[in-house]
Amino acid sequence: MKEKKWKVISLFLGLLSLLLPPILQVKNANAIVDNWTINNATVYHTTGSTSLTFTNGYSQEITGPITQLRFFSTSAQSQTIPAQQEFSLRFAMFIKSTANNFAVISCPNRSNSGNIQVVDCDMEIAKTSDESFDYYNVWFNVLVKYNREESSTSDLSVPLTGVVLQYSSGSASYRFSQPIMVITGKSDTQKIIDAINNTSSESAVEQQNETYQQESTDYSTAETSTDTGINQGQNDIEQGGQSLIAVITGFKTNVLDQINTSSTDCNLNLGNPYGFNMGAIDLCYYNPPTWLTSLLNICASLAIVGLALHVFWRIINVIKGFSK
């Protein structure tokens, strides 16, 4: 009788402590932002591509993929990329072209490269102009799927090739910009992050524009003539290609995966933007109230104690049974 009692109690408490967290996590999936914990492991990297080429006189195709894709924790250790997950990348590109130049800009091809598949892509284009030049601020939102059955800790290559820029005439140069965390609305997690960064993203865009305006003056001298402008443009492209950074802005599914949750706040961390320390928001966990965590911890402890007592009684009874 004693052993059955301990068995029932420990099973109940054990199941409570194991099943309640996932149930409550799902239940609180749309909880207020303040109660979320961010996993600030992120993905970003540069492409080392210098293979941007003119496919005809006035169009250029980006042929260099993002060569590395890594998850980084706060300790800068490479993390596991979950299997069979979709995640969204967002990256920006600034284009400078001679004024009144009709520009065609396309998304990356929906292609496969090994285990990576570009599922979807859309763009947001903002155009500003001055007397001599047009400035395009293009954001690419790319949904990528990692097709492997197993998760991976290796670097991945994302086939973001085939971004085509076409101009009717004149010269153009473009460069990839520092990414800004703006949410693509692909998942619940992202909506939450969006809410967090709603204001900071806008100010970041303004900052980017200012930065580009400053840098564009450096190019202006070389781009006064059309012929030299194209050459200079390609040089800029080659230089700019090295600063392409993509950020995984979140998983499409509300994945709570293998990445360690070391961070306890939801703040966006984009320090050291062109280096390896540029953390970004990735996953959120709902932060349960302290009393609930304590209660669940006590339940788990009692469950183990109960199970131990149950097994103890079982062993005693078995020994008694054999000694009869």
Binding site: G14, S17, L18, L20, P21, P22, L24, Q25, T37, P82, A83, Q84, R148, E149, E150, S151, V255, L256, D257, Q258, T261, Y285, P288, L292, T293, L296, N297, I298, C299, A300, S301, A303, I304, L307, A308, H310, V311, R314, I315, V318, G321, F322
Partner: protein, 92 residues
């Protein structure tokens, strides 16, 4: 005496037959291969959530698994004891 011995042998053979049958069933019947990747991901996700909500549960989980294993082992021993007694019980 001979009848008792024959009964024991018959019962022992029956028990051995049942054991062989169970082993054969497990080795012959092909269970469809599950999607291990998806299962592992789901388990990892559940584990991550539990670890976040109830860290003690994940800390004590290995002990719990060992206790459950012990419980299963005890059940096996009990079953073996029942079978042993049944085989040797001749005056029924």
């Amino acid at each position: 005496m001979f009848a008792d011995l024959a009964k024991i042998i018959a019962k022992g053979a029956a028990v051995l037959g049942i054991i062989v049958l169970v082993i054969t069933l497990f080795s012959v019947v092909t269970i469809p291969t599950p999607q291990w990747g998806n299962i592992a991901t789901s388990i990892n996700q559940a584990y991550a959530v539990i670890r976040h909500w109830c860290p003690v549960a994940t800390t004590l989980l290995p002990i719990g698994i060992q206790l459950v294993s012990l419980e299963i082992a005890i059940m096996g021993v009990e079953l073996a004891g029942v079978a042993y007694r049944w085989v040797l019980k001749v005056n029924e």
